[in-house]
């Protein structure tokens, strides 16, 4: 499947943490055409194998997470309004006026409401509306609504991916479906190429609630090395420059405690040799990506992190530049193609 179509399909599909099944189906279908073998593990991680020249060593693990932030139905009150339980970190200030879908027995459309502004006291208007004052209105009384949905049903933003121009698009859950798309691009690039080592491309689950899918999948794979692909903060006003990366400048190479310096150097070298633009993302505090889990798996794994620039993270309108996704995929493919025993052995050298 073409990269743009893949990313739109994934972005438009619901899959909050723990309930990624619909997304998983699309990924499996697309990767079965590109990989030598595709499996889904106990937690729901998709693992696509690309067999390498050297099968004697553990594989390279390349991971991006397929889950998205969202909500569960917490309560349907007596008037039929639905209260929300968040899954992952969501800014409640984005919520009033948002359209959502509740995935019950039937798909139910709703809009997120709050107390009308003219009924708010002046001091209330100075404050952000907290999540416990926010609700979903489905335009239905409790009785008909309760026949369609129940407590625990997932809720996602009702957003279709749209293109601003041929390169830049906006949609929900691009964190981290853009990363999964970069893996897809790498698989496309490696279609007629045998990488140096076996490569396991993993679309992990439950990242947003504590990198849980990566814990199980890296234990299973016990990889020789791991590369996590996630998203980074694209520069926007009000953000400190050193906390941000820039759109259309290629993947950002993470530097920090969770990145092995040799892997970092290798990725930088390969990018340079192949004219792939990259930028740097210093991350002094490890965490928040699958790299965190992979690194601490079993006896320790050398790990690198690639970040795709993304604006408005954890909002229903995340923004990416597809060129950055393509470059990330290309860099991964080249890395896998050129991986050799020397590299792997060097990672544990004193």
């Amino acid at each position: 499947m073409d990269l743009k179509k893949f990313i739109a399909t994934l972005s438009n599909t619901p899959g909050i943490s723990g309930l990624e099944r619909e997304v998983t189906k699309h990924i499996v279908k697309a990767w079965e055409e590109l990989a030598d073998e595709v499996e889904v593990d106990t937690l729901g991680n998709v693992i696509a194998w690309k067999k390498g020249k050297d099968n004697s060593k553990p594989p390279i693990m390349v991971a991006a997470h397929q889950d998205e932030i969202g909500f569960l139905v917490n309560e349907i009150d007596k008037e039929g309004f639905v209260r929300l339980e968040p899954i992952g970190g969501i800014d409640p200030r984005l919520l009033p006026g948002q359209e959502v879908i509740i995935w019950g027995k039937e798909k139910v459309h709703g809009i997120i409401g709050a107390k009308p502004p003219h009924l708010q006291k002046p001091e209330e208007r100075e404050k952000a509306i907290p999540l416990d004052k926010i609700f979903v209105d489905c335009g239905m009384e409790k009785e008909p609504l309760a026949k369609k949905i129940r407590v625990g049903d997932p809720i996602t933003f009702n957003q279709e991916l749209q293109w601003f121009n041929e390169n830049v698009c906006t949609g929900k859950s691009l964190d981290d479906r853009a990363g999964v798309a970069a893996l897809h691009q790498a698989l496309l690039d490696l279609k007629d190429i045998t990488p140096g080592f076996d490569v396991a491309f993993v679309a992990t689950v439950q990242e947003e609630v504590g990198v849980r899918g990566a814990i199980a999948s890296s234990f299973k794979l016990n990889p020789a090395l791991g590369i996590a692909v996630d998203v980074g903060f694209a520069q926007r006003p009000g953000q400190e420059k050193e906390q941000s990366i820039e759109a259309n400048k290629g993947p950002a190479l993470g530097i920090g405690p969770h990145v092995h310096p040799d892997l970092f150097a290798r990725l930088q070298k390969i990018a340079g040799e192949n004219d792939i633009p990259t930028q740097l993302e210093p991350s002094p505090h490890p965490g928040g990506t699958d790299a965190y889990a992979i690194q601490m798996s079993r006896c320790g794994v050398a790990t690198a992190l690639l970040s795709i620039p993304l604006a408005n993270m954890h909002s229903p309108l995340e923004v990416i530049d597809i060129r950055d996704v393509r470059r990330t995929g290309k860099l991964i493919a080249k890395f896998c193609q050129e991986a050799d025993a020397e590299l792997v052995e060097g990672l544990t050298c004193l």
Binding site: L94, D137, P237, Q239
Partner: protein, 344 residues
């Protein structure tokens, strides 16, 4: 569906052109006599010889924004046109200009916010529109300063009778007038599609001066506060309980003789109605009733939840009730039962 097409059109105050053209086309099909005044108010006349003249008024404009300038990064700065709580615009899609260029209102990711920032609403200085441009030049090629900005909301049914969409205030009123005119009522009717209501009821007074009706009925969208976190005694109207008859608002105290007859008629015909119980907001009635020596005026409103936000809700039974109620009033006028309000 008429209400879908009409509400999806962009039309902030002073930029009602697309809405007017759309209505003009539909009204011309029905062969109504049409005219437009210097402000942009449009009039559609239906004649019934030797009967009083009733003006039905609804405004074409909606709340929205205007492009104010650019950042060197290609982001757009904007300002509201009409009353919008800026807290509801973050993370929403918008259309800019006549070409409907896609934009989104972005904000700083939650990860990068300090704890005290999270408790405060975003200020206007923190909000910007992203059109996917990477430079000021690219952004200026697609948009220009002064372009109108409206929410990119699609209008659809979300349950059997409830629609979601933007600009029900007051395109729902515009479609009700169209429906009433099409039914060829037994009195003279001038449908007045007014401009610039959202920035201070600026079109309606001019419209009333042009029409000089014996009676005016304003068909509006109003706030329905029947939602959690608002106390029941503050519900202005309740969605699904029929059109609301205005008692008062900030601009208008209703004529009790007229309202009394409207209520009698609704009860006689079994049309569900409610009283609009709060004094907030203003409508075109506020201007119209003060034109010349005073014009007898009735205010009717459709309850809309989350009015003046990217997406509001409207119950189509309420809309049908409004059409039925106005139709009943017009028939009563023709039959001579209705007090035209000149004798207090």
């Amino acid at each position: 569906m008429l209400i879908k097409e009409l509400t999806e059109l962009p039309g902030i105050a002073g930029r009602e052109g697309q809405v007017r053209s759309f209505l003009k086309e539909k009204l011309a099909l029905e062969k109504f006599k049409l005219s437009v005044d210097a402000m942009g108010n449009m009039y559609a006349r239906h004649e019934a010889k030797n009967t009083p003249l009733v003006m039905l008024a609804s405004h074409m404009d909606e709340v929205g924004f205007m492009v104010m300038g650019y950042e060197s990064s290609g982001l757009l700065k904007f300002a509201p046109v009409g009353g919008i709580d800026l807290r509801v615009v973050v993370g929403k899609k918008v259309y800019i200009g006549e070409e409907k260029t896609l934009g989104i209102v972005g904000a700083k990711p939650i990860h990068l916010q300090k704890k005290n920032e999270r408790n405060k609403p975003f200020s206007r200085q923190e909000l910007f529109i992203d059109i996917g441009a990477s430079s000021e030049e690219e952004a200026k090629n697609k948009t220009k300063i002064g372009d109108q900005i409206t929410f990119a909301t699609r209008t659809e049914f979300i349950s059997d009778r409830v629609m979601k969409g933007k600009a029900f205030d007051d395109r729902a009123g515009c479609t009700a007038i169209l429906e009433i005119l099409k039914s060829k009522p037994p009195v003279n009717v001038c449908g007045a599609f007014t401009v610039q209501e959202e920035v201070g009821l600026r079109g309606a007074g001019v419209a009333a001066s042009n029409v000089k009706p014996d009676l005016a009925i304003v068909l509006e969208g109003t706030t329905a506060s029947d939602v959690p976190e608002s106390p029941e005694h503050r519900y202005s109207t309740t969605m699904g309980e029929g059109p609301a008859i205005t008692l008062m608002d900030r601009s208008f105290l209703a004529n009790q003789n007229l309202n009394k007859r409207v209520i009698e008629l609704a009860e006689k015909e079994g049309i569900r109605y409610q009283l609009r119980r709060s004094n907030i907001g203003g409508t075109d009635a506020g201007r119209i009733h003060l034109v010349e020596e005073g014009i007898p005026t009735i205010g009717l409103s459709l309850p809309c939840r989350y009015i003046h936000s990217p997406v509001s809700l409207l119950n189509m039974d309420d809309w049908q009730g409004m059409v039925d109620l106005v139709t009943t009033i017009l028939k009563d006028i023709a039959e001579g039962g209705f007090p035209l309000g000149k004798n207090y």
